[in-house]
């Protein structure tokens, strides 16, 4: 059986990365990846609630069929701000910049990322960009949708398109630097004995995510630069009045934005791999398949972007090719879902909070993913494009999937980051309320979309009201579910039970060091000799010092 520790009461280590240095300068000028992760954690939480505020206003408006709460122009700004906040300032950085930053170097047995100063720079760029964009939002924002389609955005509208574009461009640079750091660290700073085949799947996922970040984000940058130039100098790039092509904007925009959705989901999948294996006490079924599926998603994700443009005027033949490729990209995701399920089969499943989120992910992501395949079918898409079906689809993968994974990962690694456990009962409650609130909010939207309710409309026909009211009710439940963790996590910082090194008895190098870890992560460089996820074998991970 496992050489588990005897029951000693866990103690906080005397010196760790949180109390190594005090003062605001030690935080704002830190090079420690763990502190930078916490800086990011605070920032993205703020912007998550910002985006949530806009969502609340949207759902409030949609309680009644008439557009009676806001004018249509204001409503356009609301959903644009909701999308921009959530995509660029929450989802894209979420897991990589918080959990990834914190845990990845420790999982690799490294003392820090390859370029700690660039890591800090990437946070500063993020904060600068995010608050700049917030200022733009407060002074009127944009009403183009987060997709900035031309010619609406290139000259037709009087809102702050160019400024917002600048904010997003810099947020993109922040994500490029994070990705660059991860790629170099994973290639060059693994501990002795840690071959690619022994890497935790969380590392594989973040590595694949970083590849996408580095390859796709620059194209968004140049697209938005061109848009900003066009608006400012009235040159013709995308505006038909000057001979430009609006479809070209969509090609360039979606070349980034489709891989971006994989930036947003892949780290979540990595977290789920870690959670499922730990809480099933069983090694991941088909480790290589899961690892390579991350790379496959990253690569294939670049070949499908025009499925957002099926009705925009692209050629039929192009549309058919992209439709086929879009079906193909679902396959690696399916591989993951099958392998997670197979991991749980005949495992010893325990239902702690992280596992609840992981199980929620598997169900909700599957629904989201399958509806994505439905949208990839050309005929279906003609009917469903720009309806609430699309909105429901991407919220199932982004919120039901990614946010669940993020919360699951946050609960899983909270003891490692803070040395304290969160309170289990409220946490389980929050997980269940999340699941209920989420489905109540977004399942009716599938039906609404199928029945033909268009997206981005603040007024709708009477017959859609019941479903909209259900959706808005669900949103209020979901809001409660998201506020609960904010409260009890903060509570746990002072009153949470001391966690000890490895409260979950998990494998992985991060659990072999203290909670919280020392500033340099390990007291001695670990050497890895065992395969990953060595659950259920005669001994737990052997770490030779």
């Amino acid at each position: 059986m496992s050489t588990a520790t005897t029951t000693i009461t866990p103690v906080m280590p005397a010196k760790h990365y949180l109390n190594d240095n005090y003062g605001i300068r030690s935080w704002l000028l830190t090079k420690d990846h763990k502190r930078i992760a916490l800086l990011y954690l605070g920032s993205i939480t703020f912007f998550f609630f910002m985006g949530g505020l806009f969502a609340a206003l949207i759902r409030l408006e949609l309680l009644t069929p008439a557009g009676d709460l806001f004018t249509s122009d204001t409503y356009n700004k609301l959903f644009s701000m909701h999308g921009i906040n959530m995509v660029f300032f929450f989802l894209v950085p979420s897991i990589p910049a918080t959990l990834g930053n914190f845990v990845l170097p420790i999982m690799l047995g490294a003392k820090d990322l390859a370029f700690p100063k660039i890591n800090l720079l990437s946070w500063y760029i993020y904060i600068g960009a995010a608050f700049f964009s917030l200022a733009v939002m407060v002074s009127g924002g944009v009403d183009t949708g987060w997709t900035f389609y031309t010619p609406l955005s290139s000259g037709f509208l009087r809102t702050h398109v160019a400024l917002m574009a600048v904010g997003i461009i810099f947020a993109g640079f922040s994500s490029i630097f994070t990705g660059l750091n991860f790629i170099v660290t994973v290639h060059r700073m693994r501990a002795p004995g840690l071959t690619w085949g022994r890497l935790p799947l969380f590392v594989w996922s973040n590595y694949a995510t970083s590849l996408i970040m580095v390859l796709a984000t620059p194209v968004l940058a140049i697209t938005l630069i061109l848009l900003a130039m066009e608006r400012t100098f009235h040159i013709g790039v995308f505006d038909p009045r000057y001979g430009g092509d609006p479809v070209l904007f969509q090609h360039m925009f979606w070349f980034y934005s489709h891989p971006a959705v994989y930036i947003m989901i892949l780290p979540g999948m990595g977290v789920i791999s870690e959670l499922i294996t730990c809480f099933s006490r069983k090694r991941v079924f088909g480790y290589s398949f899961v690892a390579f599926s991350s790379i496959a998603i990253a690569v294939f994700g670049f070949l499908v972007w025009a499925h957002h443009m099926f009705v925009a005027g692209i050629s039929q033949y192009s549309a058919m090719v992209f439709s086929l490729l879009s079906m193909a990209v679902a396959i690696p995701s399916a591989v993951k879902v099958f392998n997670w399920t197979a991991t749980m089969y005949k495992g010893t499943v325990s239902l702690e909070t992280p596992m609840l989120y992981a199980l929620g992910f598997i169900g909700l992501f599957t629904i989201g993913g399958l509806t994505g395949v439905m949208l990839a079918a050309l005929g279906m898409d003609v009917h469903l494009h720009d309806t609430y079906f699309v909105i429901a689809h991407f919220h199932y993968v982004m919120v039901g999937g990614m946010v669940s994974a993020y919360l699951g990962g946050l609960h899983f690694w909270w003891p490692k980051m803070t040395g304290r456990m969160y309170p289990e009962a409220p946490a389980k409650l929050a997980a269940i309320i999340t699941f209920i609130g989420f489905n109540l909010t977004f399942f009716p939207q599938f039906i609404l979309g199928y029945l033909g309710m268009p997206r981005r409309y603040h007024a709708y026909p009477e017959e859609f009201q019941v479903l909209n009211v259900l959706s808005s009710a669900g949103a209020s439940v979901l809001a409660v579910a998201f506020v609960l963790p904010a409260i009890y996590f903060l509570w746990s910082l002072k009153y949470g039970q001391i966690a000890g090194d490895n409260p979950w008895k998990a494998t992985g190098l991060e659990w072999q060091t203290s909670s919280p870890p020392p500033t340099h992560n390990f007291h001695e460089v670990p050497v890895v000799t065992a395969p990953p996820y060595n659950y259920g074998s005669d001994q737990e991970v052997t770490v030779v010092h």
Binding site: P116, V214, L215, I222, T223, L226, I235, G243, M252
Partner: protein, 262 residues
């Protein structure tokens, strides 16, 4: 295996705390710069992709626009940049050999050539301003301006004239209205001309800043055979900017230069 980058028994002063050895640090830093250049390839690449699509769509206008920028200055600039890449490569070699004098000299040479490039670029931009070929109506005298340009080059008019003249030389007749239509479409060409060379020049200016910093550090004696990674990284960046220009020159200046092209 080069012996210039292995660790000695004590830590080299330039060894950062997260790395175990100078070799690991050098390997990681160089790889990091390559990944950064990867992002630059994609950023310029987006511009190149858009350019290609418009070149196909507005081929005649692109030809007309290309013939109205000076191929001689473009050619000169290409040689200047290639020479600066040569001096940069020599600077890296000097650092590797520990020769501080030549290192400083070659860095200064690179900077001088970079400045020459930017100077020529400035002259070209000024010519475009003078001829009222700056797209949009925010900077300069405006693309459609008839008055206010130099007497011999009345904005669009000279492009339209050239189009008609080339057509005549090819034995084809092009009516004035059609020539003017094509001339108006050259605004897109000039948009891309300024965007692509502008983004490139912006990277050159940043490169000049990098060179200045490297120059100061070299004169201070920071580099030797054991450690010259920043020079190497600066070199990679500089060569990349050169490569972008190597593609920009034929794509912008050499579209159909032969006589009789419409």
């Amino acid at each position: 295996m080069s012996t210039s980058q292995t660790t000695t028994t004590e830590h080299h002063p330039a060894l950062a705390h997260q790395f175990d050895s100078m070799a690991q640090q050098q390997g990681a830093s160089t790889f990091g710069m390559w990944v950064f250049l990867l992002t630059e390839i994609m950023m310029f690449g987006g511009l190149f992709a858009a350019y290609l699509i418009y070149r196909i769509k507005y081929y005649d206008a692109f030809v007309a626009g290309s013939t109205s920028i000076s191929v001689s200055w473009g050619f000169a600039n290409t040689l200047v940049l290639i020479a600066s890449s040569f001096t940069m490569a020599m600077a890296v070699w000097s650092a590797h050999k520990g020769k501080r004098g030549p290192l400083v000299g070659f860095l200064i040479g690179t900077m001088i050539l970079g400045a020459v490039f930017l100077g020529i670029k400035g002259k070209e931009y000024y010519d475009k301003y003078d001829e009222c070929h700056i797209p949009g109506h925010v900077i300069g005298k405006g693309f459609n301006a008839w008055g206010g340009c130099s007497v011999n080059n009345p904005g669009l008019g000279n492009i339209a004239d050239e189009i008609q003249q080339h057509a005549r030389e090819a034995g084809v007749s092009v009516p004035e209205a059609s020539a003017m239509q094509t001339a108006r479409q050259t605004e897109i060409f000039f948009s891309f001309y300024f965007l692509m060379t502008g983004l490139h020049a912006f990277h050159m200016i940043i490169g000049m800043g990098l060179m200045t910093w490297l120059l100061l550090r070299s004169r201070r004696g920071d580099f030797g055979p054991q450690y010259y990674t920043p020079i190497e990284l600066g070199g990679l960046y500089w060569h990349f900017v050169d490569i972008v220009w190597i593609y920009l020159f034929p794509l912008l200046y050499l579209i159909s230069r032969h006589k009789g092209a419409i």
